[in-house]
């Protein structure tokens, strides 16, 4: 009965084309667990809980996904724990994001590297934006970056990550693409979150803001800030379509804060494929589209090997950039 019910739900919800990807019976977990490498309430915690809830609602996993919070070291504690103690656990997935890749690239998880785990897939992405206050003299990205090149001290950019974190790197990617050679001269001020940085932008302490689209949205709607560029490959859909991309302004900068999962390094191939399939199936459902819209996530659909290659590329890009700014040797 259960399996019939499941297949019905699947075909009803997922649409006909996707039933081909129906679960292979080679692996069937008894229970599932998701480690959120942070305290309850943060982004990783929400990744685990939202995905866990959606998978359960769609009957893609048996029962409830258990969410375990294992915080510390910006995700490093959980990473080490998975590598050292749970390396062959078939029932476990761990929430990850661009921050995970950034820290791996910068060696901030001492002794750990990306090939110690298996990368499952993304569940969406939050594209980067570069914004200024509504009354700012800059109206497009090139003019802001030109001013930065002329006199780096005149532009303070704020963002919600630490120096060397993703919000910082996004500005540097754009600066580099526009021809600024010494990216170290770019003045970046770190804040605990994007909201604080926008507040300081409005207060006039900063001249520009680097963050995620979801952080900027509320302030754009209210007319307090203007988005100079969104760092996506092409214009986004719906209400975001009015924002110009950096690419169309001649600056080849792309920066997505992806959210997704990795799994233990010795997970069996059957289990790995099962998890990839479940995430893939979930990604294409209407339910997940609704969650993405609610949380301001833009489409980014990478699974299995494709995702592994993507993480690999982004780690080497971050590594190069971090060396250039002198963060790592």
């Amino acid at each position: 009965m259960a399996s019939i019910a499941r297949r019905t739900t699947l075909s009803l919800l997922a649409g006909t084309a996707l039933v081909i990807a129906a679960p292979v019976a080679a692996f069937e977990p008894e229970r599932t667990e998701c480690i959120a490498p942070a305290n309850p309430g943060g982004g990783w915690d929400f990744t685990c809980r939202q995905v866990g809830k959606t998978l359960q609602d769609l009957d893609l996993i048996p029962g409830t996904m258990q969410v375990t919070n294992l915080s510390g070291g910006g995700g490093g504690v959980a990473f080490a724990q998975v590598v050292n103690k749970r390396n062959d656990d078939d029932n476990l997935v761990v929430a990850a994001s661009t921050a995970t890749a950034t820290r791996l690239a910068q060696g901030a998880y001492p002794g750990n590297s990306m090939d110690q785990v298996r990368w499952l897939g993304t569940i969406g992405a939050d594209y980067g934006v570069i914004a200024v206050a509504a009354d700012s003299e800059y109206d497009d990205l090139p003019s802001l970056l030109d001013a930065m090149q002329e006199d780096p001290t005149s532009i303070s950019v704020g963002g919600g990550s630490a120096v060397g974190g993703w919000d910082h790197l996004k500005v540097l990617i754009a600066a580099q693409e526009s021809g600024i050679e010494d990216v170290r001269s770019v003045k970046y001020i770190a804040f605990p979150g994007g909201g604080e940085a926008v507040t300081q932008l409005l207060a006039g302490s900063l001249q520009a803001f680097s963050g995620d689209l979801s952080e900027a949205k509320g302030f754009v709607d209210s007319g307090d800030i203007k988005v100079l560029a969104v760092l996506s490959p092409e214009r986004l859909e719906g209400e975001f379509s009015e924002f110009p991309t950096a690419t169309e302004q001649g600056i080849e900068a792309i920066g997505a804060n992806w959210r997704g999962f990795y799994a233990p390094g010795e997970m069996s191939d059957d289990a790995y494929n099962w998890w990839v399939d479940q995430l893939d199936t979930m990604y294409d459902t209407e339910e997940w589209k609704a969650v993405m819209e609610t949380n301001g996530l833009a489409p980014l659909d990478l699974h299995g090997e494709e995702f592994e290659a993507f993480v690999n590329d982004s780690i080497s890009q971050i590594e190069t950039l971090s060396k250039e700014i002198g963060l790592i040797n």
Binding site: G41, F191, P192
Partner: protein
């Protein structure tokens, strides 16, 4: 008028039997979580998020439940501060200073009831402030740049000497220790790990909660173990006397001006993102001590010393909702969690929230009023029940305290490393108590030191290394002036006071 109409609509939404039930449930759970050491408002709310989602609540219902938990935890934090000298959460730390001495004097019931009333006044006035001033107050938050924040935190440190008057050098030492602890972890302004010794667990810095539970709760257990079976045993345990349950009218009356002033002060510190409830209760206490403590009774069980921090921290709880709702910027750890919930419920906090989701905002505000009355109604009759804790013999109570500490801390982070850190803090807290070093400035140093440093560096970086930016705006100059006056005056006043007191003592003994 428009305001009243909106608020009326809000009440219409909030007063449905389900929403009232959620508010009641939230208040109860929140009070319990607040009272348990280790579980504060922020993790209380975070832990209950899955519950809100599982119940399938709509946005208003979920927010009502979670903000009731928030207010409930702010109320509950005081209970263990007063009864056991163990703060239930960070903002309740200041309540220990006079609350516990009151309990030792047999006034536990009065202290609990009074602090319940003080919490109510603070929360009520700040919710009124939220209704009337939220849009305008956003402008205040925009006046504060990094230089202003640095001056504000410097001001907080300048008044630190006010808390424990016994030995200024020791409180200075404790504050310095706290600031040192705050430096541990990856420095956000450079990305470089500091004092981590390559230990990845320390990269995020030391969690305040781990430090608080170790320093206060575990050290209490160690002190008990040390004195167990000795003559001191009888005196270290809490007294059996409970005394009156309700405070006398003169006692409440004497606290009214204090509650009024500290409501405003707490509310303002709540509105400033980053300052929050801990600063609210701390500044409230030290200001009241300066203003009304003519006989040096603060710290020995003065009711006003209980009313001040409790009003201050509950007022700050309401104030912190202003930047969260109007700017999408959390003013405290708890509002950061609430913000995440709002986003998950498809509500984008920010300047347009009041126009786009008036039902959510006004429903929430109405729920705050209702929750607040509910908490008062719950807390006053339950004072008698709470005080029963004092009847529990220490040999039973202390193992429970130890157990809750361990479970609470492990439950949040799932990390056994944090348990080790907590134990180290416990032993350190025990040693520091032996040396009569006050523990409160350590936590304040940790909480405020980091913010002070970071804002200093932000300000100077933005100004390209020009230090004059620190006194470049009128607001910074005002804050620095208050800081300097607040630092210098007590030095002269207290020396004259002390001389006078000594003279009085001599007169008495002669």
């Amino acid at each position: 008028m428009e305001l009243l109409a909106s608020l009326g609509d809000g009440f219409a939404i909030a007063i449905s039997w389900q929403n009232l039930l959620y508010a009641l449930l939230g208040c109860l759970l929140g009070t319990i979580m607040g009272a348990l050491p280790g579980l504060g408002p922020s993790n209380g709310v975070a832990i209950l998020i899955p519950l809100a989602f599982t119940l399938g609540l709509d946005a208003t219902g979920a927010l009502i439940l979670l903000t009731s938990v928030y207010y409930g935890a702010m109320y509950g934090g005081r209970i263990s501060s007063i009864l056991l000298n163990i703060p239930g959460d960070e903002p309740a730390m200041m309540t220990c200073l006079d609350g516990y001495p009151m309990a030792r004097k047999g006034q536990a019931g009065e202290a609990l009831a009074l602090s319940g009333i003080a919490s109510f006044v603070g929360a009520f006035l700040s919710t009124c402030g939220l209704v009337l001033l939220a849009p305008q107050l956003v402008k205040v938050a925009l006046l504060f740049g990094p230089a202003e924040y640095f001056a504000l935190f410097a001001l907080a440190f300048a008044t630190l000497g006010g808390i424990s008057a016994k030995n200024q050098a020791k409180s200075l030492f404790a504050a310095a220790l706290g600031i040192m602890l705050a430096m541990i972890g990856v420095d956000t302004q450079t990305g470089v790990p500091r004092f981590t010794f390559g230990e990845v667990h320390l990269y995020d810095g030391i969690d305040f909660l781990v430090a608080i539970v170790g320093l206060f709760a575990l050290s209490e257990v160690f002190i008990f173990l040390e004195h167990r079976g000795t003559e001191k045993d009888a005196t270290t345990g809490p007294r059996m006397e409970i005394g009156r349950i309700t405070p006398t009218w003169p006692m409440i009356q004497s606290c009214i001006p204090t509650m009024g002033r500290t409501s405003i002060l707490g509310f303002i510190s709540g509105v400033l993102p980053g300052a929050g409830a801990s600063l609210g209760s701390f500044v409230s206490y030290s200001m009241e001590k300066k203003l009304v403590d003519r006989d040096g009774t603060f710290g020995t069980g003065d009711p006003r010393g209980v009313a001040a921090p409790e009003t201050g921290n509950n007022a700050a709880a309401g104030g912190a909702l202003v930047p969260m709702l109007a700017l999408g910027v959390p003013g405290s750890g708890t509002t950061a969690v609430l913000l995440a919930v709002l986003l998950a419920l498809n509500i984008t906090p920010g300047p347009l929230l009041f126009q786009q989701n008036p039902d959510v905002v006004w429903g929430l505000i109405a729920a705050l009023f209702i929750g607040n009355f509910m908490l008062l109604a719950l807390n006053i009759p339950m004072v008698g029940l709470f005080t029963r804790v004092l009847m529990v013999p220490p040999r039973i109570l202390m193992p429970i305290v130890a157990m809750i500490s361990f479970v609470g801390i492990y439950g949040i982070s799932g990390s056994s490393f944090d348990l080790m850190v907590m134990l180290i803090f416990g032993v350190a807290g025990w040693a520091l108590r032996k040396l009569e070093v006050p523990l409160v400035p350590i936590i304040l140093g940790t909480l405020l030191g980091n913010e002070m440093e970071v804002n200093f560096r932000r300000a100077v970086t933005i100004a390209d290394g020009d230090y004059s930016v620190l006194i470049s705006s009128p607001l910074t100059i005002v804050l620095w002036a208050i800081a300097i006056i607040g630092f210098i005056i007590p030095i002269f006043v207290s020396s004259t006071l002390r001389r006078k007191m000594k003279k009085d003592e001599r007169d008495l003994t002669d």
